[in-house]
Amino acid sequence: MINAMIDGLQSMMTLYNILMMVAGTALGVTFGAIPGLTGGIAIAVCLPLTFYLDVYPAMALLIGIYVGGSFGGSIPAVLLGVPGAPEAGITVLDGAPMSKKGQSGKALLTALYASCAGNFLSALITIVMLMGVSKIALMIGPAEFVGILFFSLVLIATVGSSGNSVAGLLAAFVGLLLSMIGTDPVTGIARFTFGRHELLSGLELIPVLIGLFVGSELLGGVRSKRQTQVKTVNFKDENRLTKKEVAGTVPAVLSGSVIGSIIGALPGLNAAVSATLNYSFVRRFSKNGSAFGTGCVEGIAASEAANNGTVGPTLVPLLTLGIPGSGTAAIFLGALLMQGVICGPTIMTDSGNVVYGIFFALLFCTITLAVIGRLIIRIAQNVIFIPTSILTPLVIFMCCVGVYSNRSLVFDIYVLIAFMLLGYLMKLGNIPVLPLLIAYLLGSTLEAHFRRALTISQGKMSIFFRSPICVIFLLISAALLAYSILSPLRNNKKKGK
């Protein structure tokens, strides 16, 4: 373990990788600062580029974008009153009023330092979680894996669908079906390829990921007007943070790190949930609870620490079990697969140096953000006002080039456009994209473990009911499904009364 840690640290902390981390952080903040674009889109757009990089620079770039993007959404939340990303929605409650009072600099500084503190602390918690979960993961066999994967899909489709469980389950089944396209690994038969040789290896990961992300976020905003009021940020005079104010944010940051770590590690629950929970929790127990929502630094700290506190822990189920719990984690799975790093129980033994490298990158990017955050804010606040009429086509063009560069096949651009349209139509219909994405990524793994378990049991399904871990996860999944079906019925009855 110590050797892997040292190897990871040495491999990640080269000048080239450090430059990648700084560039990634700056790019992530800038993308996150533009309403309509998110850090996730930046990661998706840069994903094809990582094909040309080694694993450490690739991870350095993507982690930098991830860390930067998680903070970047708070910049328009404060300056424009519009969150740059869903998780920054709570930051608007106190950020916008502070900006109106001429304290935008103070609000942004609070968001910056709370984000960095939340990120840093949760990254430390993550390293501990990682070691624990990876040891447990080694005890898991194919039947247990089927139970865990099934539970993850149900959790993401029900809890992660904001109350619309039927739509979530529909999306999950569609994703599962999409994962079946290609050659069956056991029999070698081509499934759902309709005679196209480009589909023999399945749908390419990059166009699907990028298409779903970009389509659902960008296409709905075409020809829609965006606020262009200019508000310059200054960090002097009344925009300085006092020692008393900093001390007042400490409990909010600490609780945000813990809540963010727990929420981040659970598939299907996202940073917005973490921010909302911590904001409510801190407001309840704070001496200044009544000031929340009127422009209070503690409120901003509570939101930002919690939403950034999910950054590191989101990677725990991904790395140890191969289960991406969020869209961004799904992109990281794609990036790691492209680099030949297989996520799962044996990752600590096979690629432990890469895992530790990723977490050292996380810590370094957080420190980078804290050091150069003010400069990046000054750049990002200008980029914010680039019209979407220019940005949207440019982003789509970059996506087309990115997916084409992977295999030099025009077919991949068609797949990209198809999934962009699918992502947009899903957003219109309130069908969540995340279950489809996760099911698409996990479908083939689920099938492989399912068939492996049946091979071990010589075709008997009882193997899934003989394993206590599998039974527990199946029972929890059944309970979640029952709750998601019965809860709306009960609410409708109450409304009827």
Partner: protein, 166 residues
Amino acid sequence: MKNKLIFDTRKSHIELVWGLLTVLAGIALIYVMHTTAWSSKTYSSITRSPVLIPYTAIYGMTIMGVILSVKSIVKIRREDRAEKKADAKVNVWGVILALLWALFAIVMPTVGFTVSGIVCLIVSFWLCQADMRKPTTYIAAIAVPVVFYVIFSKLLLVRFPAFSVF
């Protein structure tokens, strides 16, 4: 001038369309599964059968589609009684923009990457109501494809199609 390609509707209507489309897709796929060789073949053991998970996904999708359709119909009737207003905006311009870039993929092998990229960007900027009087709009439309061509083809050695009409 009212933009007819951005119109208001209710989310429940869109959900109904989704539900019905999913049911139709499910029925079509079940038909495909029954008629293609690989899926209608009998396999010696369940572990060798490549149809179990696909059938599960198709039937699951179809059933969810039916449930979503029924839910949407109930919701629409309730909303009609309550005279609920539109709560969703359908932006057809977004679809047109996406189809424009599909056109880019069609013409790129013939016209070449740079030319098709420049033309599609200019049309996209116009579609998105960018300020076409500003020279920076055209500079961006020309510079970005050229820069990308240089970076990807010279540095990353990606082979882009060249102009090949004649």
